[in-house]
C-alpha cells in the first residue's frame, strides 16, 4: 500500500532536498589512487613534484597524473592536485608552467592556499577549477563570500568550524563547501604553526612539517620576580621574593609520574554523524592522509562510501552499522574524535599517553583472479602470510568475511609453507566468492 504521508525531515530548519556529497580521498601515489577510486571515492587529491605540502610523499610526475586521470575517468571520478604551499619569491617563477601542465594532463581542480597561485591559475590555466585550501583557515561566511567573489567555486573550511557555523555559511553564500571528515588534524589553525622551523629548520608551510605538535614537552611556570635580571642584587634583597632567594627560578607544573604536555590531537572521525553532515549541505567530504597506506585508504573510503550511499538511498530508515565502526578502527592510527563539529576539543580530545601501537592490521594480499568452479583465488602477496593464519577478505560494497588460510601454492602448483615474496602470485582456497581488487588483511 502506498503511503500518502510525506516523510518528515529529521532535522527541522535544515535543507530538505538532500544532495549527495562528493567523497574525496587522498592518494599518495598512483597505486593508492587506483585503490581509493575502486573502493568508492568520487574524487581523489594528489601531490605533484612541486608546490604541495607533503615533500616526503612519493608525489606524482605529470605522466603518472595522466595515467591517474585516465583510470579515474573510467569510474567517472576526478583528480585534484594540492598546490597548497605558501610560496616564497623563488617559487613564483615556475608556477605558470606547472599549472599549464596540470591543466594539460586533465586535472580537474587544484587546492590552493596562496592567492598568487589562484591568480596565476585564472590567467594561465582557466580550465582548472580552483578550490581554496584549509590552510587559509577560512572560518566565517564573509571570508567565504570574499573568495566566491574572487571566482572560486569551492572553499575547504578551516577545521575549527562547527556544524552550526557551516549551516550559517551555507545560508549566506552559495558556494561548494568542503570539510575534512576523517583523519589526522593540525592542532593549530592550519598554517599558523612554525614549530618545525624553530626546532629543526624545516619550513612547515612548504612541506617540511616534522610534527613537533606530537612531541612531548614539560610545562613550567617562571618563578623569577619580574625583571629580576635588571638588578639581581636588589631583587635578592626584596622580602617578597622568597623563591628567588632560595634559587628557585622555575616551578614544574607536573608530577613525576604525570604524562608530559603535548599539543597532539586525536584523529577526526565523523562516521557517526553522516546524516547531520549531509543535511547541513556539505558538498564534499574529505579524508585526510596522502601519506597513509593502501590498506588505510581502501578501508576508510569503503566505509564512508557505504554509509553515504545507505543514507542517500533511504534517509528515514538509515542505521549506522556497527561493522562500519569496527572497520574504521582496523585502520585507525590514533584514538578518534569529532574535532570542532560539535564542541571545542578539550582534554579528552588530546593525546598525552605514549602513542599506542600503530594500526593493528596489515594488507596481506590482493585478489587478482577468482575461479568459481574450484573456489580458489590467485592472490598477489603484499605481506607475509602462511597457512593456519586468521585472515579477512574485504572489498567494495561491503564484501567481508573471515577465514583461516588453508594450503597455499605458487603458480607452478608447488605447495608453500608461507608466502614470503613480495608480489608473488599465490593460489589458495577461499570460503566465499571474491573479486578482482578485493583485499586480504591479517592481524599484525
Amino acid at each position: 500500500m502506498q503511503t500518502l504521508e510525506k516523510p518528515k525531515p529529521k532535522y527541522t530548519g535544515k535543507r530538505h532536498r538532500l544532495s549527495k556529497p562528493e567523497l574525496l580521498a587522498p592518494a599518495g601515489n598512483l597505486e593508492k589512487l587506483k585503490f581509493a577510486i575502486h573502493y568508492g571515492a568520487d574524487a581523489v587529491y594528489i601531490g605533484g613534484q612541486h608546490y604541495g605540502l607533503r615533500s616526503n610523499a612519493d608525489n606524482f610526475s605529470f605522466e603518472e597524473m595522466r595515467e591517474g586521470v585516465e583510470f579515474a575517468k573510467k569510474y567517472g571520478a576526478k583528480v585534484f592536485v594540492a598546490t597548497n604551499i605558501y610560496a616564497h619569491n623563488e617559487d613564483i617563477e615556475g608556477i605558470e608552467d606547472y599549472l599549464r601542465n596540470l591543466e594539460e594532463v586533465g586535472i580537474s581542480a587544484i587546492i590552493v592556499a596562496d592567492p598568487i597561485i589562484i591568480e596565476t591559475a585564472k590567467r594561465v590555466a582557466p580550465k582548472l577549477e580552483v578550490h581554496l585550501s584549509t590552510q587559509q583557515s577560512t572560518v566565517n561566511w564573509q571570508a567565504v563570500k570574499f573568495w566566491k567573489e574572487e571566482g572560486l567555486p569551492r572553499v575547504v573550511l578551516g577545521r575549527e568550524t562547527s556544524l552550526e557555523e557551516i549551516a550559517e555559511i551555507k545560508k549566506h553564500v552559495d558556494i561548494e563547501i568542503e570539510t575534512f571528515i576523517h583523519g589526522a588534524m593540525c592542532s593549530s589553525y592550519s598554517g599558523r604553526c612554525v614549530l618545525s622551523n624553530h626546532f629543526t629548520d624545516r619550513d612547515s608551510n612548504r612541506g617540511g612539517c616534522c610534527q613537533s605538535c606530537r612531541w612531548k614537552y614539560d610545562l613550567f611556570e617562571d618563578a623569577r620576580p619580574a625583571e629580576a635580571w635588571i638588578s639581581e642584587e636588589e631583587a635578592r634583597e626584596s622580602s617578597v621574593l622568597k623563591n628567588f632567594k632560595l634559587g628557585v627560578t622555575q616551578l614544574p607544573l607536573f608530577n613525576e609520574d604525570d604524562n608530559a604536555f603535548s599539543m597532539s590531537s586525536k584523529d577526526l572521525c565523523m562516521l557517526e554523524s553522516i546524516p547531520e553532515l549531509i543535511e547541513v549541505g556539505i558538498d564534499s567530504f574529505k579524508i585526510e592522509g596522502r601519506m597513509k597506506s593502501i590498506h588505510y585508504v581502501a578501508t576508510v573510503v569503503n566505509v564512508y562510501r557505504q554509509a553515504i550511499d545507505s543514507y542517500m538511498a533511504d534517509p528515514e530508515n538509515y542505521v549506522l552499522k556497527p561493522e562500519w565502526i569496527e572497520e574504521i578502527n582496523k585502520a585507525a592510527n590514533r584514538p578518534l574524535n569529532t574535532g570542532f563539529f560539535f564542541n571545542t576539543p578539550d582534554h579528552e580530545d588530546h593525546i598525552y599517553e605514549p602513542e599506542e601501537k600503530a594500526v593493528p592490521y596489515d594488507f596481506a594480499g590482493l585478489v587478482l583472479e577468482y575461479d568459481e568452479e574450484t573456489g580458489t583465488a590467485v592472490i598477489q602477496q603484499r605481506n607475509y602470510f602462511k597457512p593456519g593464519q586468521e585472515i579477512e577478505f574485504f572489498g567494495p560494497d561491503g564484501t567481508f568475511f573471515k577465514q583461516t588460510v588453508g594450503q597455499i601454492w605458487d603458480e607452478d602448483g608447488n605447495e608453500l609453507d608461507a608466502a614470503r615474496h613480495p608480489l608473488q602470485r599465490i593460489r589458495m582456497k577461499v570460503d566465499k566468492p571474491v573479486r578482482y581488487f578485493d583485499m586480504m588483511r591479517k592481524r599484525k
Binding site: F146, S187, C193, H198, Y217, M263, T344
Partner: protein, 310 residues
C-alpha cells in the same frame, strides 16, 4: 637625504604609549583581544581615541590590530568597530582575515589596510595581490631570510614592514591546550589564570635551555619563540633595501625594556638617515639592550641568516 623609515612599536597601555613616543617611536600598534591577536594590553575604543590624540599631537601614527581569525558570531562587531576607529582618527589597521578588508572598504575606507597574515606573508606577488585589493602595506613573515626580504623590495608595489626586535608567535591554536593538559592531570582549571602574565613556558626534552612561553586567551593558545629577534647590528641592510617600517614587538616585556630597545633603534635609524654613506653601527647601542635582556632569552638574528629546508 634618504626616505625616513618608520619605527613602529607595540604598546600595552596609554602610559607605555607615551613613554615609547618619548623614546622615539614613529608609530604605535595597539588594539584589543576581541579583534587583534597577541597584544601587550587591551585598549577600549575610548582609550584608542585618547591614544590618537596623544600621538597625533606629536606627529606619531596609531595603527590598530584586527588580525584575528573571525568566526561568524564576531562578524557583526567589525563594521561598528572600524567606523569607531576611523572616527577616532586611527591611521591604519592590520588584518589577516578577508572579512576585515570587506568591512573597512565598505564602512571606513579612510583607514589604511596593512596585510598581516603572520607566518603566511612570504612573497612579493601575494603581497601585491593584497595591494590590488586595497592593502597599502605588507607585514612580512618573520621566517623570511634577509636575502628574500631585500630581493622582494624592488618588486613590491606596497610598503613593507619587517619585525626587527622581540619575540614571535610560532604556534596558534583555537584549542585550550594548557587547560586541557591540566584537566588531564586532574588539576583544577576553573578560574585558573593561564594568561600571558602567568609566566608559563614549555621545554622540549632535547632542548633543555630553550624556554617557549605559552599562554591562553579568548583566541586560544599561543606559543612564542624562545629567543628574541634583534637585527640592530644589520639594520642598515634593511634600510639600504628601502624597508618602510621596522617593528619592535613589545609583547611580554616591561615598558622599561621596550623604551631601552626603542631608543637604541631610534639612534641607529637617525644616524643612518643623516648620512647613509658613512653610517657605522655603534656597539654601545646593542650594549644598552643587552643590559636589560632576560639572560634566559637569547638575542638572535631569527631566520634572517638561517638556511631552512623542506
Amino acid at each position: 637625504m634618504r626616505k625616513q623609515p618608520e619605527l613602529l612599536v607595540t604598546a600595552g597601555s596609554l602610559e607605555e604609549l607615551t613613554a615609547l613616543i618619548d623614546a622615539g617611536a614613529d608609530a604605535l600598534l595597539i588594539g584589543e583581544e576581541k579583534f587583534g591577536m597577541r597584544l601587550p594590553g587591551n585598549f577600549t575604543p575610548a582609550q584608542i581615541a585618547e591614544a590618537v590624540k596623544i600621538a597625533h599631537d606629536r606627529k606619531v601614527k596609531i595603527y590598530v590590530s584586527l588580525n584575528n581569525l573571525f568566526h561568524n558570531e564576531q562578524l557583526e562587531l567589525i563594521p561598528d568597530y572600524v567606523k569607531q576607529l576611523a572616527a577616532a582618527g586611527v591611521d591604519g589597521v592590520e588584518f589577516g582575515d578577508p572579512s576585515v578588508l570587506t568591512a573597512v572598504k565598505e564602512h571606513a575606507p579612510q583607514l589604511k589596510l596593512h596585510w598581516n597574515a603572520e607566518m603566511l606573508s612570504t612573497n612579493y606577488a601575494t603581497a601585491n595581490y593584497w595591494g590590488s585589493k586595497g592593502a597599502s602595506r605588507v607585514v612580512l613573515a618573520r621566517e623570511l631570510s634577509m636575502d628574500e626580504i631585500t630581493e622582494m623590495m624592488p618588486k613590491l608595489e606596497i610598503e613593507a614592514q619587517v619585525q626587527v626586535h622581540g619575540m614571535t608567535n610560532i604556534y596558534h591554536s583555537k584549542r585550550r591546550l594548557v587547560q586541557s593538559y591540566m584537566a588531564h592531570q586532574g588539576r583544577p582549571v576553573q578560574g585558573v589564570d593561564l594568561g600571558k602574565d602567568r609566566g608559563l613556558f614549555l621545554v622540549e626534552a632535547e632542548r633543555k635551555d630553550e624556554k617557549y612561553p605559552i599562554y591562553e586567551d579568548s583566541n586560544g593558545t599561543h606559543i612564542m619563540s624562545s629567543d628574541d629577534i634583534c637585527i640592530l647590528e644589520d639594520l642598515h641592510v634593511l634600510m639600504n633595501a628601502g624597508v618602510d617600517s621596522f617593528k619592535i614587538e613589545g609583547l611580554m616585556k616591561s615598558t622599561h625594556y621596550n623604551v631601552v630597545v626603542t631608543k637604541a633603534y631610534r639612534k641607529a635609524i637617525d644616524a643612518y638617515v643623516q648620512d647613509p654613506e658613512n653610517y657605522q653601527f655603534d656597539e654601545s647601542w646593542l650594549e644598552e639592550i643587552r643590559r636589560v635582556q632576560d639572560p634566559e632569552r637569547e638575542l638572535s638574528f631569527g631566520f634572517f641568516y638561517k638556511e631552512q629546508v623542506y
